[in-house]
C-alpha cells in the first residue's frame, strides 16, 4: 500500500516536472503578472494562481531550461556572467540584494532595479519572465534540483546548475572547490 502511494506521488511529481506548457492561456498569463510586492519592492506574495498551478517555474524542467535559454538570449551574461557576476551582481555567492524569493526576482526583471538593471517587462512575455526568474533562482540554489538544467555545449566555467554550484562555493569544507572545477560525482 505504502509502495503504491509512493509510486503515485512520484508519478504525480513526474507529471508536473516534465509537462511542457508551450503557450499560456491569456487570462492565466494576466493573473500571473499581478504579484503583490511590499512597499519597498522587495519580497511579497505571488498571485494565487501561481500556487494553484503548483509553482511551475521552480519545479518544472522545461520552464527552467527555457529560462536558461532566455538568460543567454536577453544578454543577462553581459553583466551577470555565468552567475559569478561582472558589472552586475553574481548569483552564486549567496547574497541577494532584494531577497531570494521568486517575486523579488520577477520584479527585478520586469521593472528593473536602481544602478543599471534595466526593465524587461516590455520585451518579454509574463511567462518568459517567470521562466527566467526560476532559472536565476536555481543558479544560486544550495540544493541541486533534479529538474535543473545541465551543462551547455560550450566552455565550462563552473559546475552545471543541476550540480548545485552555489552550494559548492559556499561550503568551504576541508578542501574547497574552485569554481572552475567540477565536483567529484
Amino acid at each position: 500500500m505504502a509502495g503504491v502511494l509512493l509510486a503515485l506521488a512520484t508519478a504525480l511529481a513526474g507529471c508536473q516536472r516534465e509537462e511542457r506548457q508551450l503557450r499560456l492561456d491569456p487570462p492565466i498569463a494576466d493573473a500571473l503578472d499581478k504579484i503583490a510586492l511590499m512597499p519597498n519592492r522587495i519580497s511579497g506574495a505571488p498571485p494565487d494562481v501561481y500556487f494553484v498551478l503548483g509553482k511551475p517555474y521552480e519545479v518544472n524542467a522545461y520552464n527552467l531550461s527555457q529560462g536558461k535559454r532566455l538568460y543567454a538570449w536577453f544578454g543577462c551574461k553581459s553583466c551577470h556572467g555565468d552567475g559569478q557576476g561582472g558589472s552586475g551582481p553574481g548569483f552564486l555567492d549567496g547574497w541577494w540584494y532584494y531577497g531570494p524569493e521568486m517575486v523579488s526576482i520577477f520584479a527585478s526583471i520586469r521593472d528593473g532595479r536602481p544602478h543599471g538593471m534595466p526593465a524587461f517587462g516590455d520585451r518579454m512575455t509574463t511567462d518568459q519572465i517567470w521562466q527566467l526568474a526560476g532559472y536565476v533562482q536555481t543558479i544560486g540554489s544550495y540544493e541541486g534540483k533534479t529538474a535543473a538544467p545541465s551543462r551547455n555545449d560550450e566552455k565550462q566555467t563552473r559546475p552545471a546548475e543541476n550540480r548545485a554550484p552555489a552550494k559548492l562555493l559556499f561550503d568551504e569544507g576541508p578542501s574547497p572547490v574552485h569554481p572552475d572545477q567540477g565536483p567529484t560525482p
Binding site: 508519478a11 513526474g14 507529471c15 516536472r17 516534465e18 509537462e19 511542457r20 508551450l22 524542467a61 522545461y62 527552467l64 531550461s65 527555457q66 533534479t146 529538474a147 538544467p149 545541465s150 551543462r151 551547455n152 555545449d153 560550450e154 566552455k155 565550462q156 559546475p159 552545471a160 543541476n162 550540480r163 567540477g182 560525482p185
Partner: protein, 637 residues
C-alpha cells in the same frame, strides 16, 4: 553415449520407457504456483513469455502509429500537439526497434533453438530468466515514463545535441538512454546463451552442415549482437554522464565530438537492421521446406549469405550519415559497401524462388506470408539501393521516402516472416493449430493494407514531405495522399486485429495439433506439441540435414543420461561428437532478485550518480545468492 555408468544415479537405460518419462518429468518440470512461475528456468516457458510480451509491445506501438495516422489524415489537425507528437513518434520507433523487433526474434530463438538442435534446455538458463526480467523492466520503464508525460521526444536515434544536456530538458532523453541499457543487457545475455547452445549442445551427429538454417541465422545474429551492442551501451552511458554529471563526450567546446554520437549509434544501428532481418531470413529458409515439399535450394549458399551479410553489415553504417558531410572517398566507399550487401540478400531471394519453383508448393498461411515477404522485401531492397547513392540520398534524406523504405524492409523483411513463423510454429508453442481461414484473411488484409499504406509514402517523400512533422498546411499538395494512407492503415490494423483474434481463439479452442502437422524435417517436430518439460525423452542422434525426412520411421537416439538430475549432452563444436554429460541448472528465484536490484540501480542512476555506488550493493548480494556454490559436481566426461 554407450559409456559404462561411472557414477551412481539412475540412468535412462536402466528403466522402462513409461517410467522414464515420469522420472524425467519429475526432474525437469517447473513446479506450479506463483513462486514456481517466477523461479522457472525452462526455456520454453521463458520463450513464450518473451514472445507474448513482445507482441504486447507490438500492439502498443501500433496504437501509437494509429494516433499518428489520425493526426496526419488532414492538414492542421488538432488531435495531438507538437510536444505529444514528438513523444509519440519517438516512442513508436524506440518501442518497435528495441522492445519488439530485436527481442521477438531472440524470443523465438529462445523457444526454438534448443528444440531444433535437440537439447533439453538453453545454455545458462538462469541468465535467460534474468534477461527476460530485465527486458520487461526496460519496457515498463519506457511506457510508464510515456504515461507520465516523460516519454523521450528526441527521435529513436536520439542525436546529440538535441538529446544532450543543453537541448534535452528534463529526464526524457535519460529515459530513452536507460531503456537502451536494459534492452541491450537482455539482448547480450540471450546472444551469449544462443552461441553456447548452438556451439556445444547440438544433438550428437548434428555436424556444422546439418544445422537448420534458422539456427545458423541465430548464430550469426548472436555474434552481431555481441559485437554491435557494446557500441550503443557506450553511447547511451556517455550520454547519461554528459547530462547528469557534466562530462564532455559530445561537447565540441571542450574537445568532445557531436559526430561521435552518430558514429557510435550507427555502428550499432546498422547491424541492428540485420539483427532483425537475419533471423527472419532464417525463419523463411526453414519454413519454406515443408511447404515447397523439398529441401531448400542451395543450403551452402543460404548459410554463406547469412555470414556474408553479418560481416558486411559492420562496413556500411556511414550511409546513415551521408548528409553529415563526409570526405569524397568516404562517400564512395560506403556507397559501394551499401550496394554490395544487396548481393547476399539477392542470393537468398533466388534460393527461395528456386526452392518454390522446383517444389510442389502447398499454399498454407505461412507460405503466403513468405511470398508476401519476398515481394515487399524486394521493393524495400530496391529503394535501399536507391538511397545508397549519395546524390539521391541527399535529396530524399529526412523525407517520407525514407519512412517508406525502412517500413518496407522492416515490416516486409521481418514482420511478414515473423507472422508466418507464428502460424507455422503455433502448434509447437501451444499444442493447437491456428485457423487457416482467419490466417488467409489476415494475410490478405495485412498485405494489401501494408502496401496501400506505405507505397504512397515514396511519392509523398519525393514531393518533399519531411519526416517527424506533426501537421502540415492545407495549401501543400500532400493532404490527398495522406488521407489515402490513413484510410489504408485501417485495413492494415484490421489485418493485425484479425491475427490477434486468430491467436487468442486458436490458443483456446483451436484444433489439437499432432506432433508434426506440417510433415517438417527438423528436430523440434520430433517431440510432442507442445514439448514436455524435458523436450526429448531420449536425445536424438542426427544423420542428415533433414532428420525427420531421411529417417521417417525411427529416429536413432542416444542414451545413458541420468534421470534423477537435470543432465544434457555436450558435443564438440564442428562434428558434434559427444563429449560430456553436463548438469543443467535448477530453478532459482535469484535471477529475479538480481534483475530487480539491477533495475533499481539503473533507474536511480538517471537521477543521481551515487546510485552506481549504493545501488551496486544489492546487485552484489543478489549475484552472490545466485552463484552460491552447490557442492555438486558440474559435469561428467
Amino acid at each position: 553415449m554407450n559409456r559404462p555408468a561411472t557414477t551412481t544415479g539412475m540412468r535412462d537405460i536402466d528403466i522402462a520407457r513409461t517410467k522414464l518419462t515420469g522420472a524425467l518429468a519429475e526432474t525437469w518440470t517447473t513446479p506450479s504456483g506463483f513462486w514456481g512461475a517466477l523461479a522457472t528456468v525452462d526455456h520454453k516457458i521463458i520463450g513464450r513469455r518473451y514472445i507474448f510480451t513482445a507482441f504486447v509491445f507490438l500492439a502498443l506501438g501500433g496504437v501509437l502509429a494509429a494516433l499518428m495516422r489520425i493526426q496526419l489524415a488532414q492538414p492542421e489537425a488538432r488531435l495531438l500537439g507538437p510536444d505529444r507528437y514528438n513523444q509519440i513518434f519517438t516512442m513508436h520507433g524506440a518501442n518497435m526497434m528495441f522492445l519488439f523487433a530485436v527481442p521477438v526474434m531472440e524470443a523465438v530463438a529462445v523457444y526454438l533453438v534448443p528444440l531444433m538442435v535437440g537439447t533439453r534446455n538453453i545454455a545458462f538458463p538462469r541468465l535467460n530468466a534474468f534477461s527476460y526480467w530485465i527486458y520487461l523492466a526496460g519496457g515498463m520503464l519506457l511506457w510508464t515514463a510515456f504515461a507520465l508525460d516523460m516519454g523521450p521526444d528526441v527521435g529513436w536515434f536520439a542525436y546529440v545535441p538535441l538529446s544532450g544536456p543543453q537541448y534535452g530538458a528534463g529526464k526524457r532523453a535519460d529515459i530513452w538512454a536507460q531503456m537502451i541499457t536494459f534492452t541491450e543487457l537482455s539482448a547480450l545475455a540471450v546472444a551469449v546463451e544462443l552461441v553456447v547452445t548452438i556451439f556445444k549442445q547440438r544433438a550428437p551427429g548434428m555436424t556444422l552442415d546439418r544445422i537448420p538454417v534458422f539456427v545458423w541465422a541465430m548464430l550469426v545474429t548472436s555474434f552481431l549482437v555481441i559485437m554491435a551492442m557494446p557500441a550503443i551501451m557506450i553511447a547511451s552511458t556517455s550520454l547519461i554522464l554528459d547530462r547528469l554529471v557534466g562530462t564532455h563526450f559530445y561537447n565540441p567546446a571542450e574537445g568532445g565530438d557531436v559526430l561521435l554520437w552518430q558514429h557510435l549509434f550507427w555502428f550499432f544501428g546498422h547491424p541492428e537492421v540485420y539483427i532483425i532481418f537475419l533471423p527472419a531470413a532464417g525463419m523463411v529458409s526453414t519454413m519454406i521446406e515443408p511447404f515447397a515439399r523439398r529441401p531448400a535450394f542451395g543450403y551452402l549458399g543460404l548459410v554463406m549469405a547469412l555470414i556474408a551479410t553479418g560481416i558486411l553489415s559492420f562496413g556500411l553504417w556511414v550511409h546513415h550519415m551521408f548528409v553529415a558531410g563526409l570526405p569524397r572517398l568516404g562517400d564512395s566507399f560506403f556507397t559501394a559497401s551499401s550496394m554490395a550487401i544487396a548481393i547476399p540478400a539477392g542470393i537468398q531471394i533466388f534460393c527461395w524462388i528456386a526452392t518454390l519453383w522446383d517444389g510442389r508448393p502447398v499454399f498454407k498461411t505461412p507460405l503466403l506470408f513468405i511470398i508476401g515477404f519476398i515481394v515487399t522485401f524486394v521493393i524495400g531492397g530496391l529503394t535501399g539501393v536507391m538511397v545508397a547513392s549519395v546524390p539521391f540520398d541527399t535529396q530524399v534524406h529526412d523525407t517520407y521516402f525514407v519512412v517508406a523504405h525502412f517500413h518496407y524492409v522492416l515490416i516486409g523483411g521481418a514482420v511478414f516472416p515473423l507472422l508466418g513463423t507464428i502460424h507455422y510454429w503455433f502448434p509447437k508453442l501451444t499444442g493447437r493449430m491456428m485457423s487457416e481461414t482467419l490466417g488467409r484473411w489476415s494475410f490478405w488484409l495485412i498485405f494489401i493494407g501494408f502496401n496501400a499504406t506505405f507505397f504512397p509514402m515514396h511519392i509523398l517523400g519525393l514531393e518533399g514531405m519531411p519526416r517527424r512533422i506533426y501537421t502540415y498546411q492545407p495549401d501543400l499538395p500532400w493532404h490527398g495522399l495522406n488521407l489515402f494512407i490513413s484510410l489504408s492503415a485501417v485495413i492494415l490494423i484490421a489485418g493485425f486485429l484479425l491475427f490477434f483474434v486468430n491467436v487468442i481463439r486458436s490458443a483456446r479452442s483451436g484444433e489439437v495439433a499432432p506432433d508434426n502437422p506440417w510433415d517438417a524435417p527438423t528436430l523440434e517436430w520430433a517431440t510432442t506439441s507442445p514439448p514436455p518439460s524435458y523436450n526429448f525423452a531420449m536425445i536424438p542422434v542426427v544423420g542428415s540435414l533433414h532428420p525427420l525426412w531421411s529417417e521417417r520411421d525411427t529416429l536413432p537416439v542416444a542414451d545413458g543420461l541420468r534421470t534423477d538430475r537435470r543432465e544434457l549432452i555436450v558435443t564438440t563444436l564442428a562434428t558434434a561428437e559427444p563429449q560430456a554429460r553436463d548438469a543443467s541448472p535448477q530453478n532459482s528465484i535469484w535471477p529475479l532478485w538480481a534483475a530487480i536490484a539491477t533495475t533499481i540501480m539503473l533507474i536511480w542512476s538517471i537521477f543521481s550518480p551515487w546510485a552506481v555506488v549504493w545501488g551496486s550493493i544489492p546487485v552484489a548480494v543478489a549475484l552472490i545468492g545466485w552463484f552460491w556454490p552447490k557442492g555438486t559436481p558440474e559435469d561428467e566426461s
